[in-house]
């Protein structure tokens, strides 16, 4: 399908790439359909909303920054996304990039849980003081 994007104009997105956030994301409850664009080859990627070109996030693999990242996610979330083998699930986090890359932050308190099989996703809220909504890359990379 043809999709309008925030940064790249109209792009073609295959149907199987579409991920559904049935509840939207906090602050973006009305936006359900997203896709990761294949414009980038690297750590950070765009998560573009299909329904509104202006809604676009930058997402990344949290384990690149924190190898021992282990948010406690209750069973209910996995079931909500259709359940199945835990191998079918992946976790991304939203990044907030800054001019100085080291000052960019990632949100470890609100990971995106995605079921690759059902293509359903949800933003989980982690109530654990260890994980903040704004960890700077600087602090995470130093820890390693």
């Amino acid at each position: 399908m043809k999709v309008q994007t925030r940064y790249f104009g109209e792009v073609e997105i295959q149907d199987e790439k579409v991920i559904t956030f049935e509840e939207g994301l906090p602050g973006f409850e009305d936006f359900k359909k997203f896709a990761v664009l294949d414009t980038e080859k690297g750590t950070f990627n765009y998560l573009q909303c299909i329904e509104d070109k202006d809604v676009c996030f930058v997402v990344t693999d949290p384990y690149e920054f924190k190898e021992d990242y282990a948010p406690r996610i209750s069973e209910g979330y996995f079931e909500k996304l259709g359940g199945g083998d835990s191998k079918e699930f992946i976790i991304w986090v939203i990044a907030c990039l800054k001019e100085e890359i080291e000052k960019s932050t990632i949100n470890l308190a609100g990971p995106l849980l995605i079921n690759l099989n059902t293509k359903k996703a949800i933003q989980v809220i982690i109530e654990d003081k260890k994980y903040k909504s704004r960890h700077t890359l600087e602090e995470l990379l130093e820890e390693e």
């Binding site: 602050g27 980038e40 907030c96 949100n107 609100g110």
Partner: protein, 83 residues
């Protein structure tokens, strides 16, 4: 907003399957017990608000140069491998 008064040990039922109980009151602190189906998300308000705010900030960034950020990370990885 609906406002109801409850005493310690008393509760509320919402929609037949969510139970909220006042467990303990101490000064200005109330301990609340909630029993709800697993698929119901329950969060402390300020934590939910924080995630919402962070999402809004993340989505409102000016033109983001991912190539630059990705290049930064690649260099870092190479540096690490060479160590």
């Amino acid at each position: 907003m609906l406002a109801l008064s409850r005493r310690t040990g008393e509760g509320l039922i919402i929609d037949g399957n969510i139970e909220i109980k006042v467990l303990e009151i101490q000064g200005d602190k109330v301990k609340i017990g909630i029993q709800a189906p697993k698929e119901i998300g329950i969060y402390r308000e300020e934590i939910y608000a924080q995630i919402k705010l962070t999402n809004e900030e993340a989505a409102s960034m000016e033109k983001m140069d991912l190539a630059h950020a990705n290049e930064f990370m690649n260099k870092l990885k190479i540096k690490k491998e060479n160590k």
